[in-house]
Amino acid sequence: MTRRVPEWMVGLAFVSPWLIGFLAFMALPIGMSLYYSMTQYTMLEPPIWVGMDNYTAMAGDRVFWTVMKNTTIYALVAIPLGTIIAVILAALLSAKVRFQSFFRAAVFVPTIVPLVATAMVWMWLFNGELGLINIALDACFRPINALFGTDLAGPNWLGSAQWVMPALILMSFWTVGQAVVIYIAALKDVPEVLYEAAEIDGIGVVGKFVHVTLPMISPVILFNVIIGIINTWQIFAVPYIMLGTTGAAKRSGYFYTMYLYDKAFPFGEMGYASALAWVQLMIILALTGLTFVVSKKFVYYRAA
């Protein structure tokens, strides 16, 4: 015996695990966080309504501006440089060379290494005294110092306020592999005839890359830039593991999400943390929107 069930109910039943999960664990907490953002809420006591106080308090919160500045600098440098590196790597890895698969795997593998392991390894690489990076730098500086009598030495990457940000940005390139894979797929999709036409017009390798490849993969670049904006504004685990709760010397490696987390849990200010989360959402939305608007001038969508 069978029972006929309308199609929409079957569909709903199939999506219900996700739907219930979304409503219970996403929509409801999001709504509640909006409410909490307008309260003083310690989690241990009932929230007290304070209206927009948490939002206005941010204006006078020095740490808020520090994390804003740090996150912005990180995003402004890491996203463009990461994009350039990823596109160049993708172009190189698209070339037909021996061991192509090996090189592609080598670029991608770091992205599947757990974050904690990555952080621990890089902490040692950046070690001011024993780190491999400084050992390599010192080897380079030695002849220069001998020749010019200078005193060049590798910096104390994670121990000094000036070098924390460059170290983290440098480290962010470790995981460009994910973007590289997407760019390789996009590069494969560029019609060969366009390169042939460019060649007939006498355009060189660089010209073809600038005038053919880049426009053709520009939608993919846009996608990666937007993902990059979202990810960099949410950077948390790696600096938290590497630099500790206050983000190293003078909060130089203290990012927005780290502050949000600290406010919510160790500092017990869930109301303020919720307001920070909403401001973060607005910033990401605004930046994504801005990127879309600006991209209209630069992104070329090929007709299907």
Binding site: M1, T2, R3, R4, V5, P6, E7, W8, V10, Q40, T42, M43, L44, E45, I48, R62, N127, G128, E129, L130, G131, A153, N156, L158, G159, S160, A161, G244, T245, T246, G247, A248, A249, K250, R251, Y254, D262, F265, P266, F267, G268
Partner: protein, 467 residues
């Protein structure tokens, strides 16, 4: 577009239900583990793993064996204060939770832990009778006279006993006796004053080719207590009565100027680079174990690491040196900390929880834990053989600190985590000599005061002004 009706067979429906049932059986909630039938099972969250966790498990096993009504299960948790906070907020807490003493103000003020006086009023008599017959301890209660004054204070906030001390620590000056001998210093005469410490540090420091090979003393190793140096100059950070931050007091300024004198003397870059080569706390590369630093401010638990990675190391310990004018050998100054056991609000079995909590406070259990953790005793009168059984040969120093009237806890305010974060963020500014200590401390003071004011304002809004 046409709509198509789908069919689900009875077999498919039963199969799905069966799979769900199997999933529930495999992944669903567990029974109370290996608890014997008929026992009230209570869960105890604690922060300890490894050797320290095993020590508490032994106490739990002894309790579980000693009676047939209650069964305690031990769960080690990381970030326990945050997990406790979430579980209490979600009204699903464990029966007992181990919190650091500095978390007590937040949990007590927000009524997130049950005052132990309330539990005593409700269950104290009954449990005391049980303890008398079961353990031969007549009329056992939590009494002031059982504990040293600092330990008793660590159990309270605003006069409310929020938890009991399971273990406690006092921080002292630890030094490598071999390094002392190497530097021509008497290892039996550690520094008593800051002046002597500076002299020892200078002689212990070894420089080679313009780099530091061994630091005599480093304020920033292990770097866990960036805020406390002012206490050794007679200062404090917080006036509890007035709820005022005192980071920029004259004593604190003097202390941090003293801290700055080290990078001034040895070079900031040189010291920072030298320090970056230290290994983690729980490793053989830790500074004092690897011989990179000759002396540090540390807790008694350092001995566990020494025993593990460098057994046989000849170490010594003494109360941390203080400014000349406040030196008093009978009244040492030092930070005291405690791990406390609390009964959270919403505890499912308060009577049973309180019974186990009292069991941990039987002197023999307190001492067993202290010995296994290599920590001092919170008991006012330790057993005669406590020091002999203890793995830390300098435990007498820690016991003395733990009983000193000049021992100090972390400032008792809910704003402390933010207050401390300011020190942790700004210590580099002072260490790198970017700004004078007085200016940095004034900034810290201003920001800390704002956090304190928020806490006070929030408290008054909820509960009214303190009487």
């Amino acid at each position: 577009m046409t709509s198509q009706a789908q069919t689900i067979t009875r077999r498919a429906a039963l199969g799905a239900l069966g799979a769900a049932g199997l999933g529930f059986a495999i992944f669903g909630p567990r029974r109370a583990g290996d608890a014997p039938p008929g026992r009230v099972v209570i869960d105890y969250w604690e922060k300890w793993t490894g050797q320290e966790g095993d020590a508490m498990r032994r106490v739990i096993d002894a309790f579980n064996r000693s009676q047939d009504r209650v069964w305690v299960r031990y769960f080690a948790q990381s970030a326990i204060d945050q997990k406790a906070l979430i579980s209490i907020a979600g009204d699903d807490p464990p029966a007992l939770v181990g919190l650091w003493d500095f978390a007590l103000p937040a949990f007590v003020e927000s009524r997130a832990v049950i005052p132990l006086a309330d539990l005593d009023a409700e269950f104290g008599d009954e449990i005391a009778r049980d303890f008398a017959s079961r353990y031969g301890v007549p009329d056992f209660r939590l009494r002031r006279e059982q504990y040293t004054a600092p330990a008793w204070e660590l159990m309270h906030h605003d006069g409310v006993m929020g938890g009991v001390v399971s273990t406690c620590s006092s921080m002292a000056y630890y030094y490598d006796r071999a390094a002392y001998r190497d530097a021509g210093l008497d290892p039996d005469a550690p520094p008593r004053t800051i002046r002597e410490l500076d002299e020892h540090a200078e002689r212990l420091t070894v420089m080679r080719d313009g780099t530091v090979e061994r630091a005599g003393f480093l304020h920033r190793e292990p770097g866990w207590w960036n805020w406390l140096w002012g206490y050794f100059f007679g200062g404090t950070l917080y006036d509890r009565a007035k709820e005022t931050a005192l980071a920029s007091s004259a004593e604190n300024v003097r202390a941090y100027e003293w801290l700055q004198s080290y990078p001034e003397k040895y070079g900031t870059q040189r010291l920072t680079a030298f320090q970056s080569g230290f290994g983690g706390y729980n490793s053989a590369q830790q500074a004092i174990l690897s011989g990179k630093v000759a002396s540090v401010l540390h807790g008694p638990f350092l001995v566990n690491v020494i025993d593990r990675f460098k057994p046989g190391m000849d170490y010594g310990a003494a109360p941390f040196p203080v400014a000349d004018e406040i030196y008093d050998p009978d009244r040492p100054i030092g930070l005291v900390e405690a791990d406390t056991i609390c009964v959270p609000r919403g505890c499912p079995h308060p009577r049973e929880a309180y019974e186990f909590l009292l069991f941990t406070q039987l002197p023999r259990n307190i001492e067993a834990l202290a010995i296994d953790h290599a920590k001092p005793t919170p008991l006012a009168t330790p057993s005669p053989d406590f020091a002999r059984r203890h793995p830390n040969k300098a435990i007498a120093v820690h016991n003395k600190l733990m009983a000193s009237d000049r021992a100090f806890p972390k400032p008792e305010t809910r704003a402390w985590p933010q207050f401390e974060a300011e020190f942790n963020a700004e210590i580099t500014t002072m260490w790198e000599l970017t700004r004078p200590a007085a200016d940095v401390l004034a900034d810290i003071d201003a920001r800390a005061q704002r956090f304190i004011d928020i806490v006070v304002e929030r408290r008054e809004r909820r509960y009214g002004a303190k009487s």
